[in-house]
């Protein structure tokens, strides 16, 4: 089994921990992120996308249950990742499942809005 070649991301109050179990990737986010310099996070997610393609992953779980807050600059990097995914040929696409926390109201509308960009690829669990 190939390994996921991606370290954890820690910056600007945000922690991202990736895990790969041989079939799906789980990305767990914790902290409260006010991102001022989204470039490194954007680059991290693009690397994750490349890894997902390399490994032929069909499902990625993004666990936001422990993420208290993320500002719009940080959130935009997830949008960019989704735009990249949406523009891939169908054979390179994978599903993304967001696990949200109903206690954090910011997640509800922003995730539903995000889902509108790729209704066939994004699911939300709460």
């Amino acid at each position: 089994m190939s390994e996921l070649q991606l370290e954890a991301f820690v910056d600007e109050g945000l922690n991202l921990t990736p895990a790969y179990d041989g079939s799906e990737v789980t990305l767990t986010l914790t902290g409260s992120a006010t991102v001022y310099h989204p470039e490194s996070l954007r680059s991290y997610l693009q690397t994750l996308h490349a890894e997902n393609k390399r490994l032929g992953v069909k499902r990625v779980v993004v666990d936001l249950r422990e993420l208290e807050f993320m500002n719009s600059a940080g959130f935009s990097t997830f949008i960019d990742w989704l735009v990249t995914l949406q523009e891939e040929p169908e054979t390179s696409q994978y599903m993304v499942c967001y696990r949200s926390n109903a206690e954090y109201p910011w997640q509800r509308r922003s995730l539903h809005a995000l889902q509108c960009l790729a209704v066939d690829l994004v699911t939300i669990e709460s």
């Binding site: 001022y36 807050f69 500002n71 719009s72 600059a73 959130f75 935009s76 997830f78 949008i79 960019d80 989704l82 735009v83 949406q86 523009e87 109201p105 910011w106 509308r109 922003s110 539903h112 809005a113 995000l114 889902q115 509108c116 960009l117 790729a118 209704v119 066939d120 690829l121």
Partner: protein, 513 residues
């Protein structure tokens, strides 16, 4: 109604420009949310407004619709001083993402997997909730009028200079000018007038936009296009500190975009061909600008193969533009003129980057409309250049001009000369008295029979005391003050005149100017 065919070239340009615009919108959004600087918000609104208009014009109706939603969101944010709920803030990124997706796709048909209807509903709901949660309160910026015209001073910031700051400087300059008129000593008058000239010049310069800023994105455009076409092209820009007025900016952008995409697409050989012809592997496009008197010149030249004049001759005959004999005798200048005709091209097939000759024709039309000239030059084997001369922006205003005492005045022609005076005596304005310009000793003054000029606008009547009847003129605005300010200095028939706003002058007549 059938869909209007849009040349690939225009579509490609629209996409490139719009994606860059979106990047600026997004960056500025994060900035305005953290700094709450209203000018940045105004800049975003201008960009969105332009994107919406372009999209509608080219049939990208989904893009236009989303821009409309973004405008709603921006309007709310502005009215709340950019202190808004997270749920609204977090809608901007997906909105921009959606716009990006819609712009990327090759067809203008709706895109699979994207739910625009649901997204719009979410924006509407979020806004409705926000309006209910945050009823409108007066913020420091909510009184500021925001006009979505490109020439609005509020939208022409350079660095951090805002329309409000420019307005304040213009008012100060006008005060200096008036103080000069009031001075008894000739030396004081001369000195204050000199100060006014310097201030007015400074304000004009600050209203202008640095050409380097306008053209900054074209380096990326050259890189993208050349890489897509398998060419190596370098853009060398030499524009120094040349500035242009805000209304000229779109013309300059259009000229540069068309000329550069043409140069990369048609005017530059692939690397191996260049080497075989004894040229450097990489082609170079030189973009130069300079100012001369009241106009500026922009030249864009490439070191490609130059125009194939024989192909132009053959095409002119084929298209019936020239007869065979005339084509044979036509000189280079005549043949180059043909390249700026609508639908004339030496190419049999349009490419994705460059369309069917629409570009140069459209560029020439736009340049001419702004009082400029365009010239195409080409030398076989050495390259082609486009030279554009455009007059520097002049802000003109139709006025009624008249004299009171020794001073020339003007009133905007939005005030109509009234046929009959139905106002009250206290609505008669003496501009000399209001502006404290009455001479202390009028013993030497020639006595003129006073003339009452009656004006009306929006149901309001004002009469102005003058010593000459009003005549229609065109005034050049040298240092524009805001509509709320009672006066500004303009140029009428090469002489300075005081533009008065009668309604404001009547209100402010007791205040120091």
């Amino acid at each position: 109604m059938g869909r209007v065919h849009i040349p690939d070239r225009l579509l490609a340009e629209f996409r490139t420009r719009s994606l860059e615009r979106l990047a600026r919108i997004e960056t500025n959004w994060y900035s305005v949310i953290s700094t709450r600087e209203a000018e940045i918000g105004v800049e975003i609104e201008r960009e969105v407004h332009t994107l919406k208009g372009d999209a509608r014009l080219l049939g990208f109706h989904d893009v236009s619709m989303l821009c409309h939603k973004l405008e709603d969101l921006l309007r709310f944010s502005r009215s709340r001083g950019y202190i808004i709920p997270d749920t609204l803030d977090l809608l901007v990124a997906p909105l921009v993402g959606l716009l990006r997706l819609l712009l990327h796709k090759s067809s203008r048909q709706p895109m699979a997997g994207v739910d625009l209807v649901e997204f719009s509903r979410q924006v509407d709901n979020a806004l409705r909730e926000a309006y209910l949660a945050q009823p409108e309160t007066q913020t420091s910026d909510s009184n500021e009028k925001v006009s979505m015209t490109a020439s609005s001073p509020a939208l022409t910031e350079v660095g951090r200079v805002t329309g409000r700051t420019l307005g304040r400087l213009a008012r100060l300059a006008t005060r200096v000018y008036l103080q000069g008129l009031r001075s008894e000593r000739e030396a004081d008058r001369r000195e204050l007038r000199d100060v006014w000239i310097s201030l007015a010049r400074q304000v004009r310069q600050m209203r202008s936009v640095a050409l380097s800023q306008v053209l900054s994105r074209h380096g990326g455009m050259v890189r993208d296009l050349s890489s897509r076409l398998g060419k190596q092209v370098v853009l060398v820009t030499d524009v120094g500190d040349v500035t242009v007025g805000p209304t000229i900016v779109p013309v300059v952008e259009m000229v540069a975009s068309h000329a550069i995409s043409n140069a990369v697409d048609h005017g530059m050989e692939p690397p191996d061909m260049r080497v075989a012809r004894g040229k450097a592997e990489s082609g170079t496009i030189h973009l130069k600008a300079m100012t001369r008197d009241d106009e500026f010149e922009l030249s864009i030249s490439d070191d490609g193969p130059g125009v194939d004049f024989e192909a132009v001759r053959a095409r002119a005959v084929e298209q019936g533009v020239l007869r065979k004999e005339a084509a044979k005798d036509a000189d280079d200048a005549t043949l180059l003129e043909l390249l700026m005709l609508p639908d004339f091209t030496t190419r049999q097939r349009a490419t994705e980057t460059s369309g069917r000759g629409v570009g140069l024709d459209a560029v020439r039309t736009s340049v001419n409309r702004h009082g400029g000239r365009i010239q195409l030059k080409s030398t076989a084997g050495e390259g082609t250049s486009i030279v554009v001369q455009l007059p520097q922006e002049r802000q003109e205003l139709a006025v009624h001009s008249f004299v009171a005492g020794k001073q020339r005045f003007a009133v905007a022609s939005s005030w109509r000369i009234a046929r009959a005076w139905a106002g009250k005596p206290d609505q008669v304005v003496d501009p000399l008295e209001c502006l404290n310009l009455l001479p202390d000793n009028d013993a030497d003054e020639t006595v003129h029979e006073p003339v009452q000029i009656c004006l009306e606008r929006d149901g309001q009547q004002v009469a102005i005391l003058a010593t000459s009847p009003a005549s229609p003129q065109v005034a050049e605005r040298l240092c524009p003050t805001a509509e709320e300010h009672p006066v500004e200095v303009v140029l009428v028939e090469q002489g300075e005149a005081i533009l008065i706003r009668p309604d404001r002058l009547a209100v402010k007549s007791n205040e120091p100017q």
